[in-house]
Structures are given as C-alpha cells and as structure tokens.
C-alpha cells in the first residue's frame, strides 16, 4: 500500500492544505509520496521533501503545469495513480477541480472532503452542510480522496525525502489560463489562520467593514465574511466562509453581524472558540458561540478593538 499526495503550491512554496493531506495519507497506511507538478517548482518540491512521513517527492516540471489546469493535471496523475492504493489531495479549489477527473478516468469513486480516516478503505465525511457525518467504505482498487484541512494536523517539517524528477504528461491544450486576480493582503491566509474575524450583512457597507479589519489587525487575524457580505460587495469572494466557501477552524473565530445560517455554520463551527456579536438575541449564531454578546456592532467592535 502507498499513497500519492498531489501537492498544491505556487511553485516556490506549498499552499496550506498539502501538509494536512500528507497527515491524512499517512493514516491510510503505507508509504507516502508527494507529486509536485508545476513550472520551476523546485522550491515547493524541497518543502514537500521536508514533510514528516513523506518517503519520496516526484517532480513534473513543465510549462503546461503553470496554471494547475485540471485537464493537464488529470492527464499526468491518472497513469501514475495506478501504482498506488490511494491518491490524495487537499479539498481546495484546485483539488476539487482535477481529482474527480482522475477518479472518472480510473473508473473509481471519489471520496470528497474527508475529515477522518477510520481504516485504509473507510473514511468520514460531512454531508448536508455538515449536519450529518457519513462513514463510507470504498471497494475500489485505487481510492481517490480529497481532504478537508481542518480535520487533520499539519505534518511537521522534520523529514528529508529524496526528490526525483519524472517525465511530464501531455499538454491537452483544452483550456488556456488568461489571467488571475489574486487578492493581495498582508493578513494571514484565511484557511490557515489561527484567528479569524468575519463580518456579515450587519456591517452594512464596504466602508463599515473597516471596523472588522481594524479588529482583525489588532488580533493578527484573517478576514472572513458571510455570503451576504460578499454578495453585497463588502469584501472579495475568496473571503466567504461556509458550505460553499472556505472551511476554517481557527483557535478564535469572531462573527460580527452574521446571523448564523446553516450554510455559514458549515464553514466555521469546528473553530475552537467562537465569539458572536449580534444585535438580535435570537440569531442562530449564538447557538454555536462560546461567548455571545448582544449589542450594536458599531459600538461594540470599536470598543473591543480598543480594549485588546
């Protein structure tokens, strides 16, 4: 038995999520290899080689892996997968894109967003926005699994695995990446942050959202948001926390002016400590909050920022 973890990276560094996927893969039994496919990705490969539990890093370096296009990644991974019992990746936008393709090409099921490994063929995954947890068993020869980062610790950087170049797969030419608009921020990355301050519709405007930002900056926290806040244009899309946004589980999650819809809770209710500030004492967010404060955010949030 051995697992192949497909790394997610920006060529220089690994993205958060990959090292959690390595931890999950190690629990599936057997060796763990990591595949780094990119363009000029030696930096990411070196980082992957340091992850505890990894016994080999494979590198496919070619221009057509620059944009992590799913057609090209799947064409590379599918033939390699046949030599492994498990193919594993983070349940990120990239992982969600190419992994089902790999599964279909292998004619196997994919197990999406697992949060626990029960045995080499049995996994736990949330369904219905996290309102139920299904334990599923896969009879397939190759198990294709995506991993929810919050379910697994990060692998320590204590290893020293050999790095081996492999031949690139074909450039399918099916899609062309025209450009990316990445949100630039000095704040910690949302999915990996130890503290998150999220704002909702209650903030009322992009301008007022600065109250959330000021609190986040005081705490060294990442910024999150509800769908309503994103749809209203207060913050960029990639701040959305929830069933269809980012899944986070920081040590501290502060929800400001967020009602606590099922879909939002799905993305944050595994946080260690949850604080909710909302003027409506009936808001469902209080049902999951460790500390609830009923009050006007326009008064309470600046006060909180000042008192920290």
């Amino acid at each position: 038995m051995s697992a192949l973890v497909i790394a997610e990276h920006d060529n220089a560094r690994l993205k958060p999520g990959t090292s959690n996927a390595v931890t999950a893969a190690a629990k599936m039994g057997g060796d763990v290899h990591v595949l780094v496919a990119g363009q000029g990705c030696a930096g990411a490969a070196a980082e992957a080689a340091k992850l505890a539990g990894v016994s080999k890093v494979l590198v496919a370096d070619a221009p057509h892996y620059a944009g992590a296009l799913p057609e090209n990644l799947a064409a590379l991974v599918t033939p390699l997968a046949k030599g492994y019992s498990h193919v594993v990746a983070a349940a990120s936008a990239v992982g969600k894109g190419f992994m089902p393709r790999v599964a279909a090409l292998l004619d196997v099921a994919q197990v999406s967003e697992i949060v626990a490994v029960e045995s080499p063929d049995t996994f736990v995954r949330p369904i219905y926005a996290g309102n139920a947890f299904a334990t599923v068993q896969s009879p397939d020869a190759v198990k294709v699994v995506t991993v929810r980062a919050t379910g697994f610790e990060e692998a320590a950087a204590t290893g020293a695995a050999p790095v081996e170049a492999i031949a690139a797969g074909p450039d399918t030419g099916k899609a062309k990446l025209l450009g990316q608009e990445l949100t630039k921020s000095a704040r910690p990355e949302l999915v990996a942050a130890r503290r998150v301050v999220s704002g909702g519709r209650g903030l009322g405007s992009a301008e007022n959202f600065r109250l959330v930002e000021a609190l986040a900056d005081k705490l060294g926290a990442a910024i999150g948001a509800s769908r309503a806040a994103v749809d209203s244009g207060f913050v960029p899309n990639d701040c959305q926390v929830g069933q269809t946004g980012k899944i986070v589980a920081p040590e501290l999650y502060i929800a400001v002016g967020i009602s606590g819809a099922i879909q939002h809770l799905a993305g944050m209710k595994d946080s260690k400590v949850i604080v909710a500030i909302n003027k409506d004492p009936e808001a469902p967010i209080f049902q999951v909050a460790d500390y609830g404060l009923v009050g006007d955010l326009f008064q309470d949030v600046p006060e909180l920022t000042a008192q920290l």
Partner: protein, 249 residues
C-alpha cells in the same frame, strides 16, 4: 449552441436535516424538496445565453426517482425548452450520474453542459468534472462569469485566492458558482406553459449504464455537538473571558 443543464432534486436549502435514529441516513420523510440551488443558477445562465442569441436550445436533465419530474417542471417553467428524466429508484452516486449524463450527451449532442458546482445534499462537487473527463472535454468549475463568443467561452472562476479567467473551446462542461447570476422565479403563466413542454423519460438500462453504487455508506451520524456557551453583558466581560477563561488572546 445547444445547452444541457443537469438538475438535481435535493432537500430544500432552508431545511435543517436530522439524522435517523438507526444511523442509516437522514430523515427525508415529509421534508421540502427543491432544485439544487446551484442548478437553478445553471438553468438561469443557460436561459440568459439563449436570450442573448448565443444558444438555440436549453434541455434540462435529471436522474433519480419519478418525483424529479417536479424539478424538471421547475426548469421548464423557468424557460428550458425540453426535459429528460433518467428514472431510477437506485441510489445514485456522482460517478453513476456522470455516466448517465455522458450517455445523454451522446444522444443529444449539446456543445455545452452547464451543471451546478455542488449538490447541497451529498456536497460531493464531482459530477461536472467527472462528466468532462468521461467525454474528454474541457471543464471550467466555479464559474462566476461566462462570455460566449462563437466556439469559445471566456469564463471567470472563483479560486481560493481570488478569481481567474480561463478560455476554453467548445464542447465543454461548466459548473456554476453562487455569484454567476440570480435565478429568476417561474411566473404562474410560465408554470402553466411548462406543463405542456416535452418531458421524456429514459431508464439507465436504455442508456446502457450500470448505476450500482461504489461507495458503501456504513453509517450516518450526528455531527459532534458544540456545548452551549455563555452570554456576556459587555465588551469588558468578553475581553476578560477571552483572556482568562478561553486563553485565546
């Protein structure tokens, strides 16, 4: 361009489902069912492309029990031209759905399949990508903006760090994200009209597809419950508790 829109009948997004006491699944008795919200967005986008003269026909397709006819009628009432039900009472997993859709695509020859990004019941996020792989087509998931120009599509998609723009040639499979559009409501006259629109029914066997599930569900359990918290009276008490009790600041 002909567009195929796969629509799934799921528990309405407002329902908080309960796990059955025997842990075999969730309790769906007397629960409101609706079209998967992402599929409504996909239907809306297909209709917009048709209204803009970029598409000629919009065909909705659903796989599942006879009750999926309701979902298809909703798509027809929104404006889809025709519907296809692949009727089965069998449990359908994403790979099986993708294979059924592939067979429908081979029968119908659409140039574009516009699916939802994720079904809100199984939260799998697989079918569109699997279908694209089985057809050997390009895929663009998590679409938040679509521009069609001849045989090419320029699609903006939501990624973890922001947005990216991808160009694909048709045929292709796209999956809709939340911000692609706001779906229209079906009006009463259109609901009436939809009753007369064609809805064909096929069986998986007609399409030569084996839908037997691969994954075995051993149990479905309640998620870990959070212990009830406390209400604090003011900011000062909150700060004190975060410092001395929770020790997170």
């Amino acid at each position: 361009m002909k567009i195929l829109v796969p629509v799934k009948r799921v528990v309405d997004y407002n329902v908080k489902v309960r796990v059955k006491a025997d842990q075999t699944g969730v309790d769906l008795a007397n629960v409101k069912m609706s079209m998967n919200p992402f599929d409504e967005i996909a239907v809306e986008e297909a209709l917009k492309l048709k209204e803009a003269g970029k598409a000629t026909e919009v065909v909705a397709v659903s796989a599942g029990p006879a009750a999926c006819q309701e979902t298809l009628r909703t798509a027809l009432a929104m404006g889809a031209d025709r519907a296809i039900l692949v009727e089965t009472d069998a449990e359908l997993q994403p790979l099986a759905v993708a294979k059924l859709l592939k067979a429908v695509v081979q029968k119908e020859s659409p140039q574009l399949v516009l699916a939802g990004k994720q079904a809100i019941d199984d939260d799998a996020n697989q079918v569109g990508q699997m279908l694209a792989a089985l057809l050997d087509w390009a895929q663009v998931t998590f679409a938040s903006k679509i521009a069609a120009d001849g045989g090419k599509l320029t699609v903006t998609r939501e990624i973890d760090g922001g947005l990216e723009t991808v160009e694909v040639a048709l045929p292709a499979v796209l999956t809709a994200d939340l911000r692609l559009n706001t779906p229209r409501y079906a009006t009463l006259p259109n609901i009436m009209k939809a009753k007369k629109k064609p809805l064909d029914t096929l069986k998986p066997a007609d399409l030569g597809v084996d839908v037997a599930p691969r994954l075995k569900t051993l149990k479905v359990a309640e998620p870990p419950k959070r212990k009830g918290g406390v209400m604090v009276k003011d900011v000062a008490e909150l700060v004190a508790k975060l410092k001395s009790e929770a020790k997170v600041i």
